[in-house]
Every structure is written in structure tokens, then in C-alpha cells.
Amino acid sequence: MLTIKNLHVKLEDEDKQILRGIDLTVPAGEVHAVMGPNGSGKSTLSYVLAGRGGYEVTEGEAHLGDVDLLDIEPEERAAAGLFLAFQYPVEIPGVGNMTFLRTAVNAQRKARGEEELSAGEFLKVIRAKAKDLKIDAEMLKRPVNVGFSGGEKKRNEILQMAMLEPKMCILDETDSGLDVDAMKLVSEGVNALRDPNRGFLVITHYQRLLDHIKPDVVHIMAGGRIIKSGGPELAIEVEVNGYADILEGTS
């Protein structure tokens, strides 16, 4: 599903190398977790895949299926089936959440040559999905993320994911700023979307999110590289011993 080969990335305006040769493959139906200390390049990886400006790919490639991600605009990546749940979802005053979501869903459908959803059809679908995430009608009407609590913002990200039905979901520190109940709710939302045809890349500092969203593979990232990969037990090792042992073991 997602194939990253020897990806090197630096900041566009500075001579600062952030990713130094990432190799990563996430097959359809699998959940891969990326863990690592601050500054290891985890968020950069998610931004570069989604197409955020400010970065320069100096070497390597990234494909979603047959699609060369690095060659196309962010909206084209989304239409190709990539979704990034933001660590800090952006507030957009004056634009209703529902309007935003309908614009996004229909833009993607249009880009894929599918028929756009009518207002009625859209409403029916979103109501059902919002209910599962305990998002009420009021939250759908409010401007995008404005006045939302941390938990509401993350639930709103998952709602967008559920509506857009991507092939590949990247979750960037979705657990940050969540209390235990909110984390459970968000995780249930994610788990409901697990599917043999869908891949997940879950970026997190902490193992606790992985108690709820059980990964198939765990990668440890440091210094812009993946330094170790293993099963779910690797996350537990990090939880118990921290990153120091792993970093030492590989250096």
C-alpha cells in the first residue's frame, strides 16, 4: 500500500537534514506504529507524505499503490487515498464544519470521476458516523474546530477520516492532549475503520495509544532513520526502558 524508499528530506530554507534515508512499507490491512524521541523526524515524515510546503526531498521516493506521492499536489494525494490526521487540527472561523466536510468529500469524488453526493445523501452518512464518535449536530454546525476541546478536535479528525474513507491513514500523535476516555473513543473510531484494504501509520510518543490501536509492526525512529522494527512487544520495551537502550543498542 504505502512504500517509502531511502527518503531523504531537508528543510527548504535551511541546510538542515531531517530525514536521512527512511525505508518503510505498510501493506494493506496492517497497522504500523512509528515511535521515537522528540526531534527524530516522525512528524516531518507525515507532513512530507501529505505534501506540506517547507520541505525539500533530496533523495528517495514514496508511493501509495502505483501513485508517486512526491510528484503531486496535497489535494491529489488526498484524492489518491492518503489521509493525515493532524496533531494540531487547524481552526477555521466562519466556515461550518459540515460545509468543509461536504466540500472535501465532493472534491475528492469529483477528482476520482465519481458522482458528487447530494446534500441529503451527505447528511444521512455524516449523521450516522458522527453519532458513533459522539459528535452532536451542534458540533457539525460550528465553524471548523473553533472552540472545540482537544478531544473534540481529534474526534473531528477521525470523523473526517471516516467520511473520506482513505486507503492509507497517517495519524500524527493523535493521542496528544487526550484524556483516557477521549483516547478510548478516538481509538474505537480508528479501529472501526480497520479494513483488509486499508493501511495505517500511527505516529506516537507513547505506548498507551497502542494498547487501544493494536499495531502489527512497530518501528523506532531516531535521527531521521528507522533504527529498529519489530512486533508489538517493541512498544512495550520502549514503555519500560525508554528509548535510551534501543538507541545505544544500535549505535
Binding site: E73, G94, A107
Partner: protein, 417 residues
């Protein structure tokens, strides 16, 4: 010999105009206005309030270009009483709503309607001190048409003044809202290549006046408007203007609060590209206790477009507990566009709260990326962020249905221009 450019310009402009015939109070008011205009002359760029906007296109004896088409009706489908002014032709259709008496300006003069006599050029003359407003004076002298609207009770349906046709119309409207009466006036249309419209509004004690004006979307027009208002005790005045792609616009609002506990709001949202110049010049005077005023203006500019905001709040001695607010913001979508803002506060009372702010910024790249990452194409994402930016100004429209309608027109215009 010293050549006085101002006098030459004024003489040339006046030579191309004819004082409309007809005596009575209107004739006297016209002569008075002409005298005042001749005393001050037409503006030049050296004048304090014309520094950012070149008055030359308004000074020309004839407009630089031909008239455009009538344009689309942004209030189409709305249940309103529509009065169409087509050049000099003005017909008052049957079916005016209850609570309102409408005459044409010439009818009001012929029938010697006293309230119209008392209002005509009165607020204009008062509003020309301390800053002279020569194009308003010119309007009072040479207005070729207009409406005299007396509101005597709550008017259920909005009154829509739709101005189309003509080449260089000069229109002067009078609106008097009696105590406890209320009305919503809508304005639209692209009249002529150049238009000069003055509206004088007298809002009596406890009366309410709501005004929504749509300018554009027409790239060839030059528009000069003045909106004068006087507010009595507990009176409400709310005016909002949406402008799109009009080549040159100067919208002046001169509001004076004379009764206690009155509320005056004026706002606007404007967007344009290229050869687009949009100027909001506002003067709010607080002359009574516990007055509240708001000025909220947003402009979105690209491809070399220019935005101007000159806003003043004057709080007279004794106008205690005044609450004045003013914000002007521009969103520049590229490096060529510019926004010039001159906020002013002049306060002679010691127990007041007045604030003003002005910002100029670019599009929020993080927000743009967020929208695009959801599959929204860049152009549409930019439009959504423009709508987001303008939302605070559109929120100024009190009526929920009208607010939604204007929001939809704005989104539609944005997607097409």
C-alpha cells in the same frame, strides 16, 4: 499667473453639468449646495482624505468609459418590494408594504413634503464639517433623481432599490424612520459607468434602520457613495456593503449619534483583483450618552489591487459611556496588492471605551495545507479561507436569513471572480 488646479477642475466639471429645473425648496437647496461646492472646490490628492484615493476619475467632466450592463440581481428570489431606477426613469410599482410612504425626489419637491425638505442636504451639510465632502455637495446640487422614503411603522418586507442603466447618474435618497418604526433597505445594481449616490437617513428615537448594499461584480464601474445618518435616542443603524471587483469605489459613511443609548454599526466586505481600488471612509460622531458604535471592514486583494480604510471615531465632550470599536483588516493574496489604513480616534470625554485595530496579512499556509490535505483544491481552499476571513464582517448583518443569503452570494461571486 498662478494656476489654481482645483478651480480649473471644479469649473470644468461644473460647466458640464446643468442645475435641474424646478423651484421650491429643492431648487433653493440645490443652489445652496452649489454655493458650498464652489467655496471648497473639488478635491485633489493633496487633500488629507484623498491622499490614498485619486479623485481624478470622479473629477472628470465625463466618465472615462461607457456604461456596463445592468448586472445580475444579487437579491433575486428574495421577497422584497423592488424599485428599479433605470437611468432617469423611476417608476414606483404598486404593492408597497405597509408602514412606508414612498415618493420620488421630484414628487417630494412638487408636493412640498416638509420632512423631505427638512432632511435634504441637511445631514450632508452637517457631515461636511470639519471635513468637506465635495462630491456629496455636487450630488445635492445636481441630483437627477432619487427617492423619499418615510417609514411610519415596522415594515415587514425589505425595500430593494435596484439602480441600473444611465451613464453618469447622480442620485439622492432621503429616508426618515419615525419613532418605533423599522425598515430594511437593500441596494443593488450597476448604474452607469460612474455613479454618485448620496443617502441621508434620519433614524428617530427607538427606530431601526437596516441597510445591505451590494456593489458589483462589475469590473468597469466607478462608484462614489455617501451615507449620512443621524441617530436619535435608542435608535439602531446597521449598514453592510459587499463589493466585488468594482474598478473604483469610494464609500463614505458619516454617522452622528445625537440621542442617548443609540447604536451605529457600519461594515463591509470587499474583494478585487488587478485594477481595483476600494476605499471605505467612515466618520462616526458620538454626541450623546452611552452610545455604541462598530466599524468592521474586511478586504481581500490580489494582483495589484488596492484597499483603503480611513475610519474615525469622534467622541464629543459629555458623550460619556461611549463604546466605540473599529477594525479594518486586509488579506493580501499576493505581494503586489496593498492596503492603506488610517484609523483615528478623537476623544473629548473621560469615561469612554474606544478601540481600533488594523491588520494586513497573507493567507494562513497551515490552514491552506489543512484544507488541501482533505482533498480541497487550492483555488477552492483559498476561497474558503477568504470566506473565513470575511465572516466577522458578514456577521454584522443582524437578520439571519439575509446573513445566510449574503454569505451564499459572497461564496458564489468568489467562485466566479
Amino acid at each position: 499667473m498662478v494656476v489654481d488646479a482645483r478651480k480649473i477642475t471644479t469649473d470644468e466639471r461644473l460647466a458640464a453639468l446643468t442645475l435641474p429645473s424646478g423651484g421650491g425648496w429643492l431648487g433653493a437647496a440645490r443652489k445652496n449646495a452649489l454655493g458650498r461646492l464652489q467655496a471648497v472646490g473639488l478635491p485633489t490628492r493633496r487633500d488629507e482624505y484623498w491622499r490614498y484615493t485619486n479623485p481624478a476619475p470622479f473629477n472628470r467632466a465625463t466618465p472615462a468609459q461607457g456604461a456596463g450592463g445592468p448586472g445580475e440581481d444579487p437579491f433575486a428570489g428574495m421577497d422584497a418590494y423592488v424599485i428599479t431606477i433605470d437611468g432617469d426613469a423611476l417608476d414606483l410599482p404598486d404593492g408597497a408594504p405597509d408602514g412606508v410612504e414612498i415618493n420620488t425626489l421630484s414628487q417630494a419637491a412638487e408636493a412640498d413634503i416638509h420632512w423631505a425638505r427638512d432632511l435634504y442636504a441637511t445631514l450632508e451639510a452637517a457631515g461636511s464639517r470639519p471635513v468637506s465632502r465635495p462630491f456629496a455637495m455636487l450630488n445635492s446640487a445636481f441630483a437627477t433623481g432619487g427617492l423619499a422614503i418615510r417609514v411610519t411603522g415596522p415594515v415587514a418586507r425589505p425595500i430593494h432599490i435596484r439602480t441600473i442603466g444611465g451613464t453618469d447618474p447622480i442620485l439622492h435618497h432621503l429616508i426618515k424612520v419615525d419613532a418605533d418604526a423599522s425598515v430594511t433597505v437593500l441596494e443593488s445594481g450597476s448604474a452607469g459607468a460612474r455613479s454618485n449616490i448620496v443617502t441621508e437617513v434620519d433614524v428617530a428615537d427607538t427606530a431601526a434602520f437596516h441597510h445591505i448594499r451590494m456593489q458589483g461584480p462589475d469590473a468597469t464601474q466607478q462608484i462614489d457613495t455617501h451615507l449620512f445618518a443621524r441617530l436619535g435616542r435608542r435608535a439602531t443603524f446597521k449598514s453592510f456593503t459587499l463589493s466585488a471587483n468594482v474598478q473604483l469605489t469610494r464609500n463614505e459613511a458619516i454617522l452622528e449619534i445625537v440621542g442617548d443609548d443609540a447604536s451605529a454599526h457600519v461594515g463591509g466586505a470587499a474583494f478585487g483583483r488587478g485594477d481595483f481600488h476600494h476605499d471605505d471612509t467612515v466618520f462616526v460622531t458620538h454626541g450623546a450618552l452611552n452610545g455604541e458604535s462598530r466599524q468592521v471592514f474586511k478586504k481581500v486583494l490580489r494582483d495589484g489591487a488596492t484597499g483603503v480604510f480611513q475610519g474615525k471615531i469622534l467622541v464629543r465632550e459629555g458623550a460619556q459611556k461611549t463604546d466605540g470599536y473599529q477594525i479594518s483588516q486586509a488579506l493580501l493574496l499576493d505581494d503586489d496588492a496593498q492596503f492603506l489604513a488610517k484609523p483615528e480616534l478623537e476623544i473629548y470625554a473621560d469615561d469612554v471605551a474606544c478601540s481600533h485595530g488594523s491588520t494586513t496579512g497573507a493567507i494562513d499556509e497551515t490552514a491552506l495545507f489543512y484544507l488541501r490535505s482533505r482533498g480541497v483544491p487550492k483555488r477552492v481552499a483559498t476561497d474558503l479561507l477568504v470566506l473565513s476571513f470575511m465572516a466577522e464582517a458578514v456577521e454584522e448583518i443582524a437578520d439571519e436569513d439575509l446573513r445566510a443569503h449574503i454569505g451564499a452570494v459572497l461564496a458564489d461571486w468568489l467562485s466566479r471572480h
